[in-house]
Amino acid sequence: MTVTATTTETTASEATAETQVEPGKGMRFVNWGANYIEDRTSLSGFVKELGRKIFPDHWSFMLGEVALYSFVVILLSGTFLTFFFQASMTHVVYDGSYAPLKGVGMSAAMASTLDISFDVRGGLLMRQVHHWAALLFVASVGLHMLRVFFTGAFRKPRELNWVVGFVLFVLAMGEGFTGYSLPDDLLSGNGLRIIDGMVKGIPIIGTWISYLLFGGEFPGEAIVGRLYTLHILLLPALVVAAIGVHLILMIVNKHTQFAGPGRTQGNVVGVPIMPVFAAKAGGFFFIVFGVIMLVASLVTINPIWNYGPYDPSPISAGTQPDWYIGFADGMLRLIPPHLETELWGFTITWYILIPIAVLGLFIVLVAIYPFVEAWITGDKREHHIADRPRNAPTRTAIGAAGVTFYAVMWAAASSDLIATHFRLSVEGVTHFLQAALILGPIIAYLVAKRVCLALQKKDREIALHGFESGRIVRLPGGEYIEVHERLSDYDRWRLVSYEDYAPLMVRPNAKGRITTGTKIRGVLSRWFFEDRIAPVTRSEIEAAHHDH
């Protein structure tokens, strides 16, 4: 079906022939409306241009859409919540319907969140929709980033859009964390306390920043109001702006596509926005919305009534941040304790500073990876054909190492639950994860690279000799052979069309010197491209055909 509906952008601009039929009443109204708007805005050129934008069809290209749609759900449900939430830390005595908290003193923020949960019609559902949609938003952003990374869709001309997407990911985490802290329940207060501790661990400025942030000593009475302003005003505005830039850049750069017959660096094969893609996308929005509603109506999230109001003395076993902050919490759990230096009467808390440095470095590496890879490979060409991960073994291996590093930190955030549920000691889990944090990425790198090369070899074998058909034939001479079924040209295309790279040759520059930069680049390039399987060439295919 997709194949028949396929249009290419080059043919898309051709005007479709219109048959002259007398329009009905409804159509006349639509025409009048269209003319009215057109006369005042000259919108038609834009609509025509945009309506004929082509989008390739692949499931992994829809992950960004999931993020966009869950953000829409977040906006809708969040607006509902603002009608009832009071971002104030004024002390009140709860007198709502939830019996175990009746008569308990708490902040107005907590009391209004309880009212939303128990006394506002539909309030609990909306809270759960908002929170589940937030988790799904960040999760789909993460998965979308992984897709872009592993298919090399961040290469020129899309490096800038990778950075915009990265900013969105950070903003999403910021939105998530500020939202998590708003209800002023025990869990959110404990989360804020950890942030406060990290801030205070920074030498010289830490204490000042903490006092500035909380308006005095933690917890103070200001933080919920401040986070609320960030959560509903500044951060959403930035997210919306970044989404706008992200989508515009995607349209300007055009979408990537996987290799296939008729697909080149110069075209985009797929369906146009109007009407097919728009219809599909509209339907898909409601599917995502539906999944969120289903989850929110069936499964509890953040039962603040269990946690009770924040009080600096208690804490619950199994206190964790939402999943997207888990990697930071995990890093704090993995750093060996007691790493402190006392210097001129000041204590330098390495167990805070090292995690902050590691997390910062990891985040920055993610942001700048496209530029690093472009520099190493020296590749200045535009790329519109997405790589299959196996065809870029070193990049895929780096990605696997990064994912492992992240996953170990993430797992460490639940070290206590891993210990209780798998009947292990929490120290054992922590020590294992400490080792895995260093060794895991190395192992993942080596394994992923070898797997990629093996898969490339397999592809090469299949492209040249076809599939094993399982049919054994006895030749007149008595020899038995298994008949290989040759691939169709269409299928073979996917296997053979990828770019071949070779390590850079280190050459002297115009002045006849080899600079250190060039040398480093040569070494890195060799690391990147030394192990490689060359794509099958035309002559090899022809030679293979002659053999049979």
Partner: protein, 267 residues
């Protein structure tokens, strides 16, 4: 009596029989109380013999099942602590929840099917209690679950939640030890755990948390056990970890399955 008073009020005059009636009531009350007291005394005597019997039986059971680790006179050995002075509550908790006798040594004694009958547990508890003073099995009136719910919830969050989790789902301790889930544990065992501090649990004596407050905590735990979750499935009440796993595996996993289906080429 009621009809008499009723008639009296209607007539508006005190009956001449009133004094006689009052005298009769007074005499009956005094005599009844005296009779009851003597009856109690004889009941005490009866229970005393029963206690002796229980103690003897308990000693035999102890020698057969516990003495190999705790010593014949519960004086303790290298493998296990002395039980002199732990009180009846401790025995009732440890044996009544199946933690004792231990199946194997490990980070901590774990709950398992109870090995003794109610009577045998009572016998063991009586014998151990006879060795030295210790916390007794709690009074029924604290186990009714009729305490102050909000106070109980707050006390639970402050004193218990750091190990047992705010929803009583349990949590990890050091070296493979753990705080078990406490929702669904019988009121008596919860109370006994608080006053005896089994395994790694601290003792919450009556000066620390008064019996009324313990009763309030039990009330909250019973509320957690019987109330339905307002928000739907609780995912083990484990907090953000199970929520994160759920969104990745089921929600995002389901959506990815849908995207694969939407973009699948029709055959």
């Amino acid at each position: 009596m009621a009809t008499f008073a009723h008639r009296n009020r209607r007539s508006g005059r005190r009956s001449p029989l009133t004094s006689a009636a009052l005298l009769l009531i007074g005499l009956l009350a005094t005599g009844g109380a005296y009779a009851a007291f003597t009856a109690t005394s004889s009941a005490d005597a009866a229970s005393q013999t029963q206690v002796t019997k229980l103690t003897e039986e308990g000693e035999k059971l102890f020698a057969a099942n516990c003495a190999s680790c705790h010593g014949l006179q519960a004086e303790g050995t290298e493998d296990a602590p002395t039980l002199i002075g732990v009180g009846a509550a401790s025995v009732d908790f440890q044996v009544g929840t199946g933690r004792m006798p231990m199946a194997a040594s490990g980070p901590q004694a774990e709950q398992k099917p109870v090995q003794f009958t109610e009577e045998q547990i009572a016998a063991l508890a009586t014998w151990v209690a006879s060795l030295g003073p210790g916390p007794a099995i709690p009074d029924e009136r604290y186990l009714q679950g009729d305490g102050d719910l909000a106070v109980g919830a707050e006390l639970f969050r402050i004193n218990c939640a750091m190990c047992h989790n705010v929803a009583g789902a349990g949590g990890a301790l050091t070296q493979g030890k753990f705080a078990p889930g406490v929702v669904g544990v019988s009121a008596k065992h919860v109370y006994e755990a608080m006053i005896t501090g089994p395994q790694n649990m601290p003792v919450f004596n009556d000066a620390n948390i008064s019996p009324e407050d313990k009763s309030a905590i039990i009330t909250y735990l019973q509320y957690l056990e019987t109330s339905t979750s307002p928000g739907g499935l609780e995912l083990g009440s484990l907090g953000p970890v199970s929520e994160g796993l759920f969104i990745w595996i089921f929600a995002l996993g389901g959506i990815v399955a849908i995207t694969v289906w939407l973009t699948a080429k029709s055959n």
